[in-house]
């Protein structure tokens, strides 16, 4: 822990909106700051001020700091510098950037989770505009998209992003790591008004309970009462077997997701677009989710270039009963949203059924008929769900039909 030089962050010809920090702590000589940056003329002074402020916060008076900057925003510079200081001193003090007022929004249990955009937790350039792509949720990922030796600095970056970046109403999500690094992740991010935590590689209810307990402890300390939900991700054969207990492990679980890359690897098969090999896992997931009254969420589609194949995958996903899919690229969002939305014909048919049912109720009839066809209660229930979905997606005006806010 007491090396004398720490290097954090990223620099290079393809790097944008990030910086590389080289920090050396000394015994004397004061603070020197060397800045290489395209924005030196515009922000050189304010960058130096920020760094001195941070040094002051950590009680550091003697250091050589070199910053190789590619247009990093202040919250990124602060995160990289804090990570370097932490590497050298082991401090657990947090230098928290301002929490922008736009980030205090809360979430609801049953909001749409049709599209959630994964953002690698150590890549600031993708965070800045993530909220503009109209995904229902944004997942700042600390797990598989971050290299093991970068997880500490990513944690600080994600924490800062939750405070400083405007996500424009998207559900604020973080995917934590497994095991005790995951608990450290929770310590850092839960106080930042996270809306939902994704717990990777869940195999049994303990995975969920451990995280849930930690979250409760943290929130007791910070006094936060905003809704904070859980989404366990099931990525193995054992997880699939235990899916129901995982879904029921806590009241805070609102959805369960399947991770097909790891699952197919676990059962020793190749993942295909057709997905026959994972059919059992996916249908079981849908079944347990419905039985547990949570949302079933499908895996990400990794071929970003093939929109045609994505369209087919979404169609199948929806027909199996899934209510959303992960995205790894913004251009997948529109395709997935369209795929999960009911078609115009479906909406029209559903409307007719619901209207027929309401007429029947008004007339005191116990049997619903549409033309010459009889309509069973389950059909009416399904039609009602479709109408609800259409209204909530803005495909049907809300005043057309009364809906019950159930669930």
């Amino acid at each position: 822990m007491n090396k004398t030089i720490a290097v954090t962050g990223n620099a290079g010809p393809k790097v944008r909106s990030d910086c590389e920090i080289t920090l050396q702590l000394n015994n004397g000589g004061g603070i020197t700051i060397e800045l290489i940056s395209k924005v030196k003329a515009l922000y050189g002074e304010s960058i130096a001020d920020l760094c001195r402020q941070i040094f002051g916060f950590y009680g550091i008076s003697n250091a050589d700091l070199k910053i190789n900057d590619s247009g990093a925003l202040p919250f990124v510079i602060a995160a990289r510098l804090e990570a370097a200081i932490k590497k050298l001193t082991g401090t657990d003090r947090e230098y928290l950037p301002d929490f922008i007022p736009g980030n205090s929004y809360t979430t609801t249990r049953d909001r749409f989770r049709l599209t959630r955009l994964y953002i690698p937790g150590n890549n600031p350039s993708l965070m800045i505009n993530a909220g503009l792509h109209s995904a229902d949720g944004i997942i700042l990922d600390l797990e598989d998209s971050v290299a093991p030796e970068r997880k500490d600095e990513a944690r600080i970056l994600v924490r800062n992003a939750l405070r400083s970046v405007n996500f424009h109403g998207a559900e604020r999500m973080v995917r934590i790591n497994q095991g005790s690094p995951g608990l450290e992740d929770l310590d850092a991010v839960v106080p930042q008004n996270v809306n939902l935590i994704l717990i990777p590689k869940c195999e049994d209810q303990e995975n969920v309970r451990i995280a849930d307990r930690r979250i409760t402890d943290i929130r007791k300390r910070t006094g936060s009462a905003n809704p904070l939900f859980l989404m366990p991700i099931i990525e193995s054969a054992l997880g699939v077997e235990n899916a129901f207990e995982i879904a029921k492990a806590s009241d805070n679980v609102v959805a369960i997701a399947i991770g097909l890359e790891d699952y197919t690897s676990d059962i020793g098969v190749q993942r295909t677009n057709e997905g026959l090999e994972s059919l059992y896992a996916r249908t079981r997931l849908v079944n347990t989710a419905k039985a547990a009254s949570v949302q079933p969420i499908d895996s990400v589609f990794s071929d970003v270039a093939d929109m045609g194949a994505l369209e087919s995958a979404v169609r199948i996903s929806r027909s199996l009963g899934f209510e959303g899919m992960g995205c790894i690229h913004p251009r997948q969002i529109a395709v997935i949203k369209k795929g999960f939305a009911p078609s115009a014909e479906e909406i029209e048919r559903a409307e007719k059924i619901v209207i027929a049912w309401e007429e029947a109720v008004k007339k005191g009839l116990s049997v619903v008929a549409l033309g010459s066809k009889m309509i069973d209660p389950p059909v009416v229930a399904r039609a009602q769900k479709t109408v609800d979905l259409a209204i909530r997606m803005g495909l049907l005006p809300a005043d057309r039909i009364d809906i019950e806010e159930s669930r």
């Binding site: 944008r16 515009l42 922000y43 503009l132």
Partner: protein, 518 residues
């Protein structure tokens, strides 16, 4: 020593003299009327030219000597061979070898391949460049190292300057992909085709001496001719360019999700406002975002069964596709950016060369861009009064030429799709670092975080009322940029002027000063 200066109509302080010649300060859009006659080169006589009309001579060096290359002359070149050009540097290698000094280089644009000319700026072979300066040349000039003052003009402004005698070209060295011994030349054919030769037109008509350099000498007649042989003094054969660098193999639309968002919003704006309609005339640049917009527009035109009457190029494969699939009536072309465009010029009679000489000269009897319903342009900065900058970044360094930008501001609806900030550099600012185009001509700014419409355009504001588009005031957008990036300090400059920016009528709209080294 501070040169005598005045405040021009745009509120910028400009000198009254540049490179020893008096200049006119910007008076406002459409306020300056030139007086006098057009410049003309000396009257030649066939007596002095080969009786067999064969003007081919062994080398460029020989040609320059016979043209009487001397210190202090103005040498012009065109940029149709872009970053693959080999001859513009060679001209100054030869000049340096002959001990000539204080030349004025007058290119229609410069490219990274011209970086080696820095040594001739340093040793005084070249006194100054009147033309764009990218990258290393730009830095060199911004640091005050060039002897003379640079002058930046739009493509149309360059034609105006030649026509009005503001710049008197002594020798024009014009590369051509095909030429005959008489001096007729065109932009197609041979190993290094570039499509069209429009930027050479003012040069060959007005220069005192004209040298054609070609790698493809053909038998008379070289047809159709874009350069007319009876204005040509000498024809030289040599390698003229590196084909892969002349035009892109293929131009690509942007892959960046953020830029695609802006492109999509622009297409939506054009649709909802009603600007995009059957018979529309439009023009867009060849940058990744512009191309993405072109693709979206193409889809809308196809869906509706509409057709754009004509478009003005820089042509790319996307424009060619619109032409070939029936959504575009004509491409009027100032320059070809990729191989598809080059092919189309040769094959398609509705794809015609249309030089900036005929399209963009403000001191003539027409300006083509004012026929455009939709004009899509870029910028480095825009300020809260909608003024635009294309030549410097907020750090004050020269980085770009004006291109056709100022000429294009005369279109009916000028739309700038821009990111709100680029790598922490705010694009919407309090005041532009360098004024290139006045705000009254810029109508709409489209960013990923909202659309700002110039308050002068009531009609546009009304056309998108209730459309669901994210309309915001330009001040709002500027403040959001500052909130995210921090409030930037302004670049610091010395008093010395390193470059002048001319408006389309030859008046001085702004200057660029020497960077203050920290």
């Amino acid at each position: 020593m501070r040169a005598k200066s005045v405040i021009n109509a745009a509120g910028r302080e400009v000198p009254v003299e540049i490179n020893g010649e008096p200049v006119i300060p910007f008076k406002g859009v459409g306020k300056h009327r030139p007086a006098g006659k057009k410049h003309a080169p000396s009257i030649p006589s066939f007596v002095d030219y080969p009786t067999d009309d064969n003007k081919v001579i062994p080398s460029l060096r020989e040609a320059l000597k016979r043209c009487g290359l001397r210190s202090g002359m103005t040498i012009s070149t065109h940029h149709h061979l872009r970053d693959g050009d080999l001859i513009s540097n060679t001209v100054f290698d030869i000049a340096s070898g002959l001990g000539v000094k204080d030349l004025v280089w007058f290119p229609s644009a410069s490219f990274p391949c011209n970086e080696p000319l820095i040594r001739y700026l340093e040793d005084g072979t070249i006194n100054r460049i009147e033309g764009s300066m990218n990258g290393p040349l730009g830095r060199f000039v911004s640091e005050g190292k060039m002897k003379g003052t640079a002058v930046l003009r739009s493509h149309g402004g360059r034609v105006q300057a030649i026509q009005d005698g503001e710049v008197k070209i002594d020798i024009a060295v014009l590369v051509a992909p095909s030429a005959d011994p008489f001096g007729n030349a065109r932009g197609t054919g041979g190993p290094s085709p570039c499509g069209v030769l429009g930027y050479a037109k003012a040069d060959y008509l007005y220069a005192d001496k004209v040298i054609i350099v070609t790698d493809n000498l053909v038998e008379f007649p070289c047809f159709p001719m874009e350069i007319e042989g009876n204005y040509v003094d000498y024809v030289v054969t040599d390698n003229i360019g590196i084909p892969e660098k002349i035009v892109s193999g293929t131009t690509q639309i942007t892959r960046s999700p953020d830029r695609l968002l802006i492109a999509e919003m622009t297409a939506r704006f054009l649709e909802k406002s009603g600007l995009l309609k059957d018979g529309v005339a439009m023009q867009a640049g060849a940058g990744g975002t512009s191309l993405a917009i072109a693709v979206f527009i193409h889809e809308i035109l196809k869906e509706r069964g509409w057709r754009s009457k004509f478009g003005f190029g820089g042509s790319t494969k996307y424009m060619v596709k619109m032409l070939e699939e029936g959504q575009l009536g004509y491409i009027l072309d100032a320059q070809a950016f990729d191989l598809d465009a080059v092919r189309s010029v040769e094959e398609n009679s509705n794809h015609v060369p249309y030089p900036v000489f005929n399209a963009y000269n403000y001191h003539s009897k027409g300006n083509l861009t004012s026929m455009m319903d939709i004009m899509i342009l870029g910028a480095t900065e825009v300020d809260v009064k909608f003024n635009g900058n294309v030549v410097t970044h907020s750090d004050g360094y020269l980085l770009h030429g004006i291109g056709g930008w100022q000429n294009c501001l005369h279109a009916r609806n000028v739309i700038l799709p821009l990111p709100l900030f680029r790598d922490r550099i705010p694009v919407i600012v309090d005041e532009v670092t360098t004024l290139c185009g006045p705000g009254e001509l810029i109508d709409v700014i489209i960013t990923e975080r909202g659309i700002a419409i110039n308050p002068l355009r009531d009609d546009l504001l009304r056309s998108v009322e209730g459309s669901g588009l994210p309309l915001r005031s330009i001040n709002d957008l500027k403040e959001e940029a500052e909130k995210i990036c921090g409030k930037p300090r302004k670049a610091l400059f010395e008093e010395d002027i390193v470059a002048a920016v001319k408006w389309v009528d030859g008046t001085v709209i702004d200057v660029i000063r020497k960077i203050k080294t920290q």
